[in-house]
Symmetry: C2
Subunit: 191 residues, 2 copies
């Protein structure tokens, strides 16, 4: 009925294309012009939604985190190993979708070109993922999916780091199967 109920279509489309570019060419690899072309509007119009590029960057990270939180909530009742496998499946999908990378990996490479606000936002997001991985791995031990003496703190870190690096190497050699093999093997080594 009122304008607050109508969905901000342009805003959402911009975020969607922003995510695409971020994961394929990096945050510094695309411009307002690129987004504007895709949306069929002028780049000046984008400043109505995002006052600056940093503003866009913060919105993109926030959106990623929203998706991630939704994902973990949706799968919270599954056995731990299935939760971790579901995340791997989602990441594996990136290798087939324009060889996208993990956004955290991309942004970390560009980190020194960002403001501290974006830096902090990204670090918080990664800590969030790390907390989930750690807790899920601990749950997996209780469920006997992983060995009792597994160092879950270490496992959480290497799991997330390997996803990042694995997606990057898979892109380099155009070999999605490489990601699959490495990460499945890592999960198996936790047993």
């Amino acid at each position: 009925m009122t304008q607050t109920l109508t969905p901000p279509k342009t805003y959402n489309e911009a975020l969607k294309r922003g995510h695409y570019y971020l994961q394929t060419v990096g945050f510094n690899g695309f411009s307002f012009q690129d987004l504007a072309n895709d949306l069929g509007i002028r780049k000046a119009s984008l400043h109505y939604y995002f006052s600056s590029k940093e503003d866009l960057g913060l919105a993109l990270i926030k959106e990623y985190e929203k998706y991630f939180n939704n994902f973990t909530k949706k799968n919270a009742k599954l056995p731990a190993i299935q939760q971790l496998e579901a995340w791997l499946k989602y990441c594996y999908g990136m290798t087939k979708d324009h060889q996208k990378l993990c956004p955290i990996g991309v942004l970390t490479c560009e980190l020194n070109t960002f403001s501290s606000k974006m830096h902090k936002s990204l670090a918080k997001f990664q800590s969030n993922q790390r907390r989930w991985a750690h807790q899920t791995l601990k749950q997996g031990i209780k469920e006997k999916a992983f060995r009792k003496n597994l160092d879950t703190s270490w496992a959480a870190d290497i799991f997330l780091e390997s996803i990042q690096g694995g997606l990057q190497i898979a892109r380099l050699h155009k070999k999605p199967a490489l990601f699959q093999k490495t990460l499945k093997g890592l999960l198996k080594s936790f047993s």
Copy 2:
């Protein structure tokens, strides 16, 4: 005596600073102007050495590979585990040196903004590293440093991918120790 014997000081300095920038802000994160400022010359002068930025990029990768080949040759007679540990030590040093990243990781994130020439050069470099890791891991089994049934193909991939991702996460949280812990743990898990 002749000019071919005098070292091309400017050229080498440019490569050195190029490496620094590549690993701290990415290849697209610095300009000829940055290099020129550091060297105390005009940016136009750099085109005497590098006809284009792509040309500079190719030279930087070639230089990395030269260093790597030298490194492996130098340590070739050490036990396998010491060779791998030496490489980890070198990478760990990056975390303390302006939080540098693995150049392959950085360049892979920016890959879609590069020419196919640079893409191929980078892929070849990574394959070279992968071959070394694989062969060294196999040697480590013979030397009883790693378990007999270790999947060395898998181990080589996860080793290199974790280095990449590990350096990135260490930068994000400004925690060099994180890299150390993850990678030492991985190597130990191969036993």
